[in-house]
Symmetry: C2
């Protein structure tokens, strides 16, 4: 069942945005034993099927891997990088798309619209293509030609909009080509990203801090939800959630005058789920940190040195980690989780 | 222990090529129960550590995922695509590099040379960078600027050679910058690719046919070796091994006059392990099929429609499958495995 975070309305059937315009959350009903709910015959995302609001028959044919976790010791902190970029379309967005596509199939919806110029669009177009769901992608006109070509090649109808990212968003909602399923709102998207917490728990056990890049919050809120559900199952400690944002586009940290151009994937100054995120920061005693292009560049170079071929937005979390490390924010010997979100292969 | 396939010499220590110039094979000593040898606490490549000739302490820090297997029903055949392109450097080569790096670390070797212009070079440079091993990459001078830049960015010393791919190979062997570890010879590389068979067995059980692209044979021979070892452990049936080659560069099929330019990753007309491959074709009652650019293009387009963002060389197996399907080669209801080898994200 879905519950509106603004007016409290309840929906039993498929819905993306509440009638009142508020964001919806899926209210999960989880059993009480993590281990017994695992589908151990699977070594991929289906291992965690019991925790997802989807029926097996509607799952997409394209399957997601369990992403590896790589450990590094940095200044007495146990750092765990989760390689979310090793996904079929090259980013963690496939997790949200995977569940969304299952729900679309269940609801019999065959035509959808999304506004995005980046990874979310590529992910939706790829899964849409393989499942026969028609996709309309609204993008800023200045998006790179290569990206447009790939989206078209994947059968997406590409709508180029002159103007800001916000203008693109408004147009996508107004034009109404198929159902609008923006990941800024989509409650099923978060159900997909929460699997990161389940996988991590099975891979390394307890985590003390999590850093994620925060734009619309679909990763931040998903990972938090996963840990919250795990707490009901296993009495784990919920980690401190740390939001990392790009300078100039902060929605949770104080807004900077400097503007990051490298953190393009999270340049969303007014996300609809802002209030929910603020609550997570308070509840988990987390924090928000924002980073600029110089810091992102340095972090990216260090990540690549460690063998992680990622894109600049992915490096924000490591830049944020470095910043907090300098401030001696982390307790010595603690476990810090950082999902690395997008592949750098696209930039070769 | 290593055994030369030409002169029969035995080596107990690290070695890439036999004194006589012949290819070496690692002779594995495997226990006798698959399930009990699995390290089930791991959901990544380390799950199969007991089957690898490496000690845990020398493993690379960068970890490989277990790649998903996606099932499709095609004309009454159960087709299983294994998504080998979801690897840290974007290709299956990381499997061979992973074991090779472990062996280099064990032997204390810190400087190596490889000739390749493609995925093997990128894989070695990436792991070399993250492990502090100096890499020399010999490539044809006409290699794309983007690829050269990335290799340099990863700290590789790039040696550009004027002339054919064979000239590049000869120069790499002669110049002797660090140890020459060509994957055409390297016996440890095959130990890495064999894990595909182990994973597949755990994921879907028995397989009747396997199609792989065949250039140097490091994938073809690795997968075969994995199934051969599994037979000792589990009494499985070894699948029929099908070699797929690019037209004009066939080493196992009859040489065509037409030359494929799309199958660039397997354009190796005289691989050192040719004799071994011929033997595998005979032993498993397999076959060889060669495909041209038109067939590869069609296959690539169909693969992308299924959600697999791969590069052209990866599509050769599906082109080969289509060809054999038309000839009614496969028994109805049989299980056909196709590893999809390299990411198409690089071409965005």
């Amino acid at each position: 069942m879905l519950k509106c975070q603004t007016c409290g309305r309840i929906y039993k059937n498929f819905k993306i945005i509440c009638k009142c315009g508020g964001v919806l959350d899926y209210i999960s009903e989880i059993g009480n034993n993590f281990d017994s709910l695992l589908k151990k015959e699977f070594l991929d995302v289906r291992r965690y099927l019991e925790f997802l609001p989807v029926k097996g028959g509607f799952l997409p044919k394209l399957i997601l891997p369990i992403t590896p976790v790589v450990k590094r010791e940095i200044n007495g902190i146990h750092v765990f990088f989760k390689l979310e970029y090793l996904m079929p379309s090259g980013s963690f967005k496939d997790r949200g798309t995977y569940v969304t596509i299952a729900k679309l199939k269940e609801a019999g919806i065959k035509e959808v619209t999304l506004d995005s110029s980046g990874n979310a669009a590529l992910s939706l177009a790829l899964f849409g293509k393989s499942e026969g769901i028609k996709t309309h992608i609204f993008i800023p006109a200045h998006t790179s030609e290569g990206k447009k070509q790939l989206l078209k090649f994947l059968g997406a109808e590409v709508h180029e909009i002159q103007g800001s990212r916000m203008k693109v968003h408004v147009m996508a909602r107004e034009v109404k080509k198929g159902l609008y399923i923006s990941h800024w709102y989509n409650p099923y998207f978060v159900e997909g990203t929460k699997v990161i917490a389940y996988e991590t728990y099975e891979q390394i056990g307890n985590v003390d801090y999590v850093l994620t890049p925060v734009g619309s919050g679909s990763l931040f809120l998903g990972v938090y939800k996963g840990f919250k559900e795990l707490k009901l199952l296993e009495k784990i400690k919920i980690p401190k959630m740390i939001a990392v944002q790009g300078k100039g586009y902060e929605s949770l940290c104080e807004r900077s005058k400097e503007r990051s151009s490298l953190a393009e994937g999270i340049a969303i100054p007014e996300p609809p789920r802002k209030k929910q995120m603020t609550k997570v920061l308070t509840t988990t005693h987390g924090t928000c940190v924002s980073v600029g292009d110089r810091e992102i560049k340095e972090a990216l170079s260090e990540l690549i040195s460690m063998g992680f071929l990622v894109e600049p937005t992915s490096a924000t979390v490591y830049a944020g980690f470095r910043k907090l490390l300098n401030e001696e924010y982390f307790e010595k010997g603690s476990n810090v989780l950082m999902p690395l979100t997008g592949s750098g292969l696209k930039n070769v």
